[in-house]
Assembly symmetry: C2
Homo-oligomer: 257 residues x 2
């Protein structure tokens, strides 16, 4: 089968959700044809050629994910979604809506980086097992201070659309930021079930967005397909029992005699 020459070509690692998943979700939800190049035959060699500067004179991306089509080469997740959003109807019209979505997405990017740091606080160049002690210390403080700060911020950014639906974009019922919020909530539930079980109880709007996104037909079909990679120990959101800690704000009150 010939590939569609107008299809987006997404370059990302083939064995993990990672940062690429935020782009996959947008393309899947919009029903856009795309090639997940790293998962095709010869795709990884092609990805490596790009990183080595072989992109036909176009700017070399520093790292995956990057998206290529007809002379455009975009890297950085927030930049890619800022490009796709207006083209796929996933952000409200006009600069104000676009800046508001970009701002929220950049805060999601910050959270994703901090989640990665929980299991790699010393270096991505070391194995998790070789920085486990630091990872426990970092995760403990992340769950205590940072996780609630980020998620409460996203909760207050959720509004009711004109049609009565919860979303982050006041002009639409659904946005690319909503898709990313879905991904961080399910990812955090996978990685930190104890803390998230407690925290989501006070975040009904974020929980509602997670449910609504799950039920979108193309998202549901994607999640049920083999294109959706499972969470594993290569991605951002990793389930390590020793990092599934209960913050003090989530601990049940002590019972005294």
């Amino acid at each position: 089968m010939m590939s569609d020459p107008t299809a987006y070509r997404l370059y990302y690692w083939p064995t993990l959700q990672g940062r690429g998943e935020f782009v996959r979700l947008v393309l899947e939800d919009a029903g856009m044809p795309y090639v997940d190049v790293g998962r095709t035959e010869g795709g990884m060699a092609e990805l490596q050629r790009w990183l080595a500067g072989g992109g036909e004179g176009r700017p070399t991306p520093l790292a995956p994910p990057f998206l290529v089509r007809e002379g455009i080469v975009l890297s950085q997740v927030a930049n890619i979604l800022h490009y796709l959003g207006p083209r796929l109807g996933l952000v409200g019209p006009g600069p104000a809506a676009e800046h508001q979505a970009l701002q929220l997405q950049l805060t999601i990017v910050d959270l994703v980086a901090e989640v990665h740091e929980t299991h790699h606080p010393l270096s991505a160049a070391l194995y998790y097992e070789d920085q486990k002690e630091a990872a426990i210390a970092r995760t403990n403080l992340f769950l205590e201070h940072r996780l609630p700060k980020f998620l409460r911020h996203f909760e207050q950014a959720v509004v009711v659309s004109p049609a009565g639906v919860l979303t982050t974009d006041p002009a639409l019922d659904h946005s690319y930021v909503d898709l990313s919020l879905f991904q961080i909530v399910v990812g955090l539930q996978h990685a930190f079930p104890a803390a998230m079980g407690a925290l989501l109880q006070e975040l009904p709007k974020l929980s509602a967005i997670r449910e609504r996104v799950c039920e979108r037909p193309r998202v549901a079909a994607y999640l049920a397909s083999s294109r959706r990679l499972p969470f594993n120990h290569h991605g951002i959101f990793r389930a390590y029992p020793e990092l599934d800690l209960l913050p003090t704000w989530a601990a049940p009150p002590s019972v005294s005699g």
Copy 2:
């Protein structure tokens, strides 16, 4: 003196360059009137009211810096510069130039976050002194692997403008990304003089941009003024002697026999 009601109001911590400095440099270079609110009387209380959600119904920023003017409230450095760039002539015209600048700026944001992690690898909620051992381990691996990767990426993103000037924006002689590159180079030189002394020798284009930006009249006037805060132990770029490590790629060859 009454303040100009059309002036931008920049909200940032008053005692450090930090992430706010990337915005200050753009406003200063463009000669835009602005109020550095945190450094005015009562300014910190006003900043705290915004963070507590008192922004007159407008979206609450998660953290400084944020920029306010006539109904716009923007946070996240890359989002603020993406907004200011076209308005101040600091990015080439059209979406392709804007996306390219945003992409580079987001990679600068990533680098800035990693530099912050060098002195706070376990948590921003702990003092540096309480995570010094982890900081040394993290810095060692940052200088070994990450610093050269980032700066070589920026070096290859520098192009020659139509007027023969080195810049990151092929349509202009100067861009907001150039201003941010200046800031990271001088910041890294302050924090890691040993590694940077070796690395800059192979990065002539980045060194040239640093020099060119320094010599822009409004930047030079700003740097010589009291508005430019000195580097200190509160900001991103901190000079700790124990973190000024020499990576193996910078070590002189050993002399035998």
